[in-house]
């Protein structure tokens, strides 16, 4: 296998150039897929025979919940890469992805609560999935708070990496213990998203939305990382020429 791409990732300049080329495509794909998915899900997908039209919230709730969990795993992967190979780019990715993850968790929680009102008759039920999501939100807050509290940039990144790795080892334990706790205390609650075999007209828009949200994540993450790299590498000569070009390009 060819590993040159991996070593090239160590160079912020290379990353800045290549990400500038990818960004329009990712952004375009995100807009097209998210629009397509929501129109499809809102207007064309058949309604659920049990939950009626409130089930259409699934097209927002499930993609954000998937994203919220996979961003945390991504944080830990970036943390390992940053700690083992001392790659600056991984540090930047770790700290820039954490706020996006927190936003996605917040959105998943909020849509879960709004969906819960017509389904359970209450805004908040201590359902296993919602509770696990709430804990995930706290884990994100911890990482963001630790990153902000440490003033030295490199130690902040390393500390966040250690915390993310400890967190990711804990997430399965938290998930299973919360599920267990839930089954012990509230037997047979109505699960929001578990249903007997969803027909293809229902899950096709969901798939579009999930891919769309991943493109959205990639685009926003690249935008945040590019800005952070410009700030961090302000002394490098390529950043100076880039800044001059940008500044003079728009008077």
């Amino acid at each position: 296998m060819n590993w040159t791409w991996f070593h090239k990732l160590g160079s912020p300049k290379w990353f800045y150039e290549i990400s500038g080329r990818w960004l329009p495509w990712l952004g375009g794909a995100a807009i097209v897929l998210l629009l397509l998915g929501s129109v499809w899900g809102l207007a064309f997908a058949p309604q659920d025979y049990q939950q009626g039209n409130s089930f259409r919230i699934i097209y927002l709730h499930v993609p954000t919940a998937i994203l919220a969990q996979s961003i945390y795993v991504m944080l830990a992967v970036a943390g390992v890469v940053g700690l083992v190979w001392k790659m600056k780019l991984a540090d930047v990715a770790l700290q820039q992805a954490a706020p996006i993850g927190a936003w996605m968790t917040f959105l998943a929680l909020l849509t879960g609560a709004v969906w819960g009102k017509p389904t359970w008759g209450a805004w908040w039920v201590w359902d296993a999935r919602l509770t696990a999501m709430l804990i995930l939100l706290f884990l994100y807050f911890g990482i963001i708070a630790l990153g902000n509290a440490i003033s030295n940039r490199d130690s902040a990144a390393k500390a966040c990496a250690v915390l993310a790795i400890v967190g990711v080892v804990n997430i399965p334990i938290i998930k299973y213990s919360v599920e267990w706790w839930n089954t012990l205390h509230q037997p047979a609650t109505f699960k929001l998203t578990e249903k007997p075999a969803m027909p293809v007209e229902m899950w096709a828009p969901l798939l579009v939305m999930v891919i769309g949200f991943y493109c959205f994540l990639a685009a926003v993450l690249l935008m945040r990382m590019r800005l952070e790299i410009l700030k961090r590498e302000a002394r490098a000569s390529w950043v100076k020429t880039e800044l001059r070009a940008q500044v003079e390009g728009r008077p």
Binding site: L83, I135, F138, L139, F141, G142, A145, L146, A149, I150, N152, S155, K158, A159, V162, L163, I165, V166, G167, V169, N170, I173, I174, S177, V178, W180, W181, L184
Partner: protein, 223 residues
Amino acid sequence: MSSVFALLLARESRLLFRRPAELANPLVFFAIVIALFPLAVGPESQLLQTLSPGLVWVAALLAVLLSLDGLFRSDFEDGSLEQWVVSPQPLALLVLAKVLAHWLFTGLALVLLSPLLALMLGLPPRCLPVLLLSLLLGTPVLSLLGAVGAALTVGLKRGGLLLALLILPLYIPVLILGSGALQADLQGLPTAGHLLWLATLTALAVTLTPFAIAAGLKISVGE
């Protein structure tokens, strides 16, 4: 290697004994928090008995967390942490001794105090073995996980609140299993499952967290 472990354990214990007031603080905190609940929810004994597993566990968890804030502080300030980091002995082993000493004098003390407070909340005496066993298995996990947070925040001026923010979400499985065991026992259900899971968590924490604590200390010292 084991002699270093024993030496360090003895040194830490001696240091802790020289400041008995600090040893008593978590215990007093534990007792006060337990006393707050009847005042807040009312003295109704039936209600207190159903709530008691959760109350004892939440109070113990907070007391351990509070005591961890200063775990590495004095060593950080007088520079002995730097000596630890550069010493030829594996740092993970040294911190394990440190946390073990801390647990012996706070965690274990909390475990010993807990039956008294649980009885005051109306927990029937037949539940005491499970209470002791669950706390005995759970508090080391609390100390070890908390030490990870303490290692990461030791260099910060106001680390206390941040420590709670970082560590409390990670405490949730221990809380669920510990209070779950006690609740099951209160209802006369078997508790072996809960306790075995708690023991698994303890084994995991003892083997894995020392490396995370060592990594955290290296980062904090290197800053």
